[in-house]
């Protein structure tokens, strides 16, 4: 095997080792590269900042624990901005596996920091099956779909829910999603009831959602960990997404280097074989 063939056929175990090193090194030696803010993120931040204080907002935790690294920082950052503006936050989830627990985890942690009280400043509605029916049904009556909150307390016992009957009482919706629920929020709730909304999505999902940004159906978009890091910078609260950018930078560079290496090996090898008459 000549050098070109070696470059073209690196054993996958070496690649795994290089990825592992690229992931570990930034944790030991943090670099903290400067992160620039894209207009899609800035638009979300500015829109929420311009909203009246104490507005009622919905934060939907539509992500599975598998994508925590990308999505959880978005949810934490959004809760921070909402509570800084003294907004009343209703959380819910359209996915059965972990959504309500993640909402519980994030809201309680951030609420503690801002001394917010459950039932008055925020409520976790939990999960109900069949998200199309849930999103549509909440347009008429939230209580008919969620008679109780996540822990079984009737909504009539929660002061915040006294003034929130349906979407007409909600000023803004922020959906953090790693699946197609974001499309349903846009097509059912934004299109049907006119509630302004924003989406935070995984990097894989983000390209599709640019169509909604272009159509002004969502005010902005957080795309992957970079989007979350940008949001953290705007909030002046650099946390896990910002720290994660070092890892992502190095791994992206590694992948690009591997792609270049593979292509150099491919073309040089092809030329070599042609010359050698193979």
């Amino acid at each position: 095997m000549n050098i070109w063939e070696r470059m073209e056929k690196i054993d996958r175990r070496w690649i795994y080792l290089l990825v592992a090193i690229a992931v570990i090194i930034p944790f030991i030696i943090p670099v903290r590269f400067p992160v620039s803010v894209t207009p899609e993120t800035k638009d979300i931040y500015d829109y929420i900042q311009a909203m009246p204080d104490s507005s009622v907002v919905i934060l939907s935790f539509d992500y599975y624990p598998s994508t925590l690294a990308e999505t959880q920082p978005m949810a934490i950052a959004a809760m921070n901005q909402f509570f800084r503006k003294d907004m009343k936050v209703i959380t819910l989830s359209n996915i059965p596996l972990g959504g309500p627990s993640l909402a519980e985890l994030v809201t309680r942690e951030v609420a503690k920091e801002y001394h917010k009280v459950y039932g008055i400043d925020y409520v976790n509605l939990g999960y109900k099956a069949n998200y199309v029916a849930v999103l549509k049904g909440m347009g008429t009556s939230i209580e008919s779909i969620f008679p109780t909150d996540n822990s079984g307390t009737p909504l009539k016992d929660l002061p915040l829910m006294h003034k929130v009957k349906n979407y007409s009482d909600v000023k803004f919706i922020f959906d953090i999603a790693d699946n197609a629920t974001a499309d349903y929020w846009v097509s059912i709730v934004n299109a049907g009831y006119g509630v302004p909304m924003a989406v935070g999505a995984t990097a894989v999902m983000a390209p599709k959602l640019y169509a909604y940004v272009g159509a002004k159906q969502i005010v902005g978009l957080l795309g992957g960990m970079k989007g979350a890091a940008e949001y953290e910078i705007l909030l002046n609260k650099r946390a896990s997404a910002f720290r994660g950018m070092d890892v992502q930078s190095l791994v992206h560079f590694l992948i690009i280097a591997l792609v270049i290496l593979g292509n150099v090996g491919y073309f040089a090898g092809r030329r070599y074989r042609r010359k050698a008459g193979l």
Binding site: S66, A69, G98, K128, S144, S151, S249, H252, G262
Partner: protein
């Protein structure tokens, strides 16, 4: 009757929900009816989850009893399901360990086991993606080269060090990528896909409502 009843239910429910779109939901009879149907749908949805639990229990229990291949993993599946489900369905008023609140058994299992395991499974994808990108991204022809160059530029744009690298060159490349690649070419293509999918979904819904499409009943 086995065919007629589901078709009739699908037809009536579908028509009511379509018609209610044109009526005020809170003041008209049709609106009220659609609201009622949506509540029913969420209840039926809850039962389908229960059906899933029953089904997975029956299949795995039979395999464990028969000592089929990998029966130990099936046993672990069953134990995992019920270890999380049983304590979570009892009310927290009985014990702080029940329910789904912080400090409950369910919460402890979720935070300490479920979350890290799922995140780990997903994280391993980065290894496969790196290996797959190295093997698959070859500039074999014009289309593949275009895809490769675009992918590399977007990958650079999405990380701070890559953005700093692109800014070494004149012409505000990061802004151009955002404007022309993501909000230009990508947006146009995604919009086409979304419109196509929506038309397909509308056509499929119409087929179900009219009873033409019956595969959801388990037969053609």
């Amino acid at each position: 009757m086995k065919t007629l009843a589901p078709v009739a239910i699908a037809f009536i429910s579908g028509i009511i929900l379509v018609v209610s779109f044109f009526f005020n939901e809170s003041t008209t009879f049709v609106g009220g009816l659609s609201e009622e149907i949506l509540v029913w749908v969420t209840i039926v949805g809850g039962f389908t989850l229960l059906l899933g639990v029953v089904s997975i229990t029956r299949v795995n229990l039979a395999a464990v009893r028969a000592r089929k291949e990998n029966w130990v993993y099936r046993l672990i599946t069953l134990i995992s399901i019920f270890a999380m489900a049983i304590p979570s369905v009892f009310p927290s008023s009985w014990s702080p360990l029940f329910g789904r609140q912080t400090g409950s058994i369910y919460d402890w299992l979720f935070v300490t086991m479920d979350m890290p395991m799922m995140a780990t499974m997903f994280a391993t994808l980065s290894f496969y993606i790196a290996s797959a990108a190295y093997r698959a991204f070859r500039a074999r022809n014009a289309e593949a080269t275009l895809l490769l160059v675009t992918a590399v530029l977007v990958m650079l744009w999405r990380v701070p060090i890559g953005e700093a690298f692109l800014n070494l060159f004149p012409g505000h490349i990061p802004q151009l990528i955002n404007e022309y690649v993501m909000n230009g070419v990508n947006l146009a293509v995604q919009r086409g896909i979304i419109i196509g999918a929506a038309l397909g979904a509308a056509a499929m819904s119409l087929r179900i409502i009219l009873g033409i499409e019956r595969t959801y009943m388990g037969r053609g």
